[in-house]
Subunit: 256 residues, 2 copies
């Protein structure tokens, strides 16, 4: 029995600067059905507050509790580990890490730094790792769909670059980290088995959720979806549907 | 019986803009003993001709035949595959690829691009791969010792980034590619078993050569060598020695 819904944002609810057709209404139908929901995004180019403001501007009013970002997970990780960040993130995200200097150890934090992925910045992070810093990835997505509509290299590639250079693996905080899905579900008193995830990334959203024990996961054919994605990663999606309205229809059908 | 010697350049013969102590004399001792030798370098920030000029300026006079570079291996690969390069290399190396436009297919060629490793350039290469280009790596070294004396991120990290993003492996042309070691040895009529490799990179030079079937491989404690490198990668070096003069002494002792 589904008792909680996890939704990706970019490529599912909006794309670039426009809302996808029927998305706002689909979210409203979930709310009307009394189903608790959480938006779990790997977007790391905006602070949580900036993202809420943007969603409101697009016509999607949600509370801070309904939004889970890797930035907030990273801040919690740094606090729990008494670590100061060496940031390789988008300049917009730096505000998320205020007041974390001068702690007992360092951790390189990698997000989608965009144009800040210069050789100099990446090498600065690498040298901190050589000096013993931990490696923390906000996300390890391979690709995202850029504003020009083409696939672009996402933060995961740069995480992989640093992992290769130092020969050890990053702690990944966003999707597909099981802890990320679990804490989002737990915040609405939903067990993993009773949750459903909806996303456009067959690997990080769908296979990731299923590996984390989420009961079902739907792949939508919007956003970064490419032909064949439904069989490209294991486990395969519970269902592959056209878009968010179709996913919501599937979810509501499970309730009746 | 050793009948051919392979030598790395940076970190073994020179470092930054100076020759390492005793290196020129050590090379002269090999020449005097009648041992054929080849310099096998993964340096990809200079054309072969520019490298020869630089070595001459440092007091090391060698012929073009004695120098093997990944740049020349890449040019040969592109010619053999009738492919045009999408270059993610140091601007200095672009001259190596003149006259290769307009062929039947594309290949992304990755070298140590240095400051040209911008997000825009890396993403341009990624998009070519998405469109079906092959992926060719001049080298896959993790690190090199920069002019400031600190370890820096080498091309291998960016190769790993692209491999991760597209989910397939690059063809690696420089060390530790077996073909690279083999063709350098074959050019002096030396079988792999009768060859010896001398390098400061425990992985690409030493373990790479031994995996390629080279009879012995010596690790020198100069250049990028760090404590513990002799046991960090399999197979371990045949011997670990202080520097190039000590390596040459070891080689000459095998002859007597």
């Amino acid at each position: 029995m589904i008792s909680g819904v996890l939704l990706d944002l970019a490529g599912v609810v909006y794309e670039g600067d426009h809302v996808l057709p029927g998305a706002i209404d689909a979210v409203a139908r979930l709310h009307a059905a009394g189903l608790p929901l959480r938006f779990v995004t790997n977007t790391t180019t905006k602070t949580k507050q900036a993202l809420l403001t943007r969603l409101s501007g697009l016509g999607l009013e949600i509370t801070g509790d309904e939004l889970f970002t890797p930035g907030q997970a990273a801040r919690a990780w740094l606090d729990a580990h008494d670590a100061s960040p060496v940031l390789l993130v988008h300049p917009n995200l730096e505000g998320e890490f205020q007041g974390t200097a001068g702690r007992t150890k360092d951790a390189v934090v990698v997000g989608d730094a965009g144009k800040a992925f210069t050789y100099e910045n990446i090498n600065h992070a690498f040298r901190a790792l050589v000096d013993g810093a931990e490696l923390v990835a906000l996300a390890k997505n391979r690709t995202f769909k850029a504003d020009d509509g083409k696939l672009s290299l996402d933060a995961g590639a740069f995480v992989a670059a640093l992992e290769y250079a130092i020969g050890k693996e990053a702690a990944v905080l966003g999707k597909p980290s099981a802890a990320f899905f679990e804490s989002a579900l737990a915040s609405m008193d939903c067990t993993p088995q009773d949750g459903v995830m909806v996303g456009d990334d067959a690997e990080a959203d769908v296979a990731g959720a299923l590996k984390a024990g989420v009961g079902s996961a739907l792949l939508v054919r919007t956003g970064k979806y490419r032909d064949g994605d439904e069989t490209r990663f294991e486990p395969h999606p519970t269902e592959t549907v056209a878009n968010l309205p179709a996913a919501v229809q599937w979810v509501l059908a499970q309730l009746s």
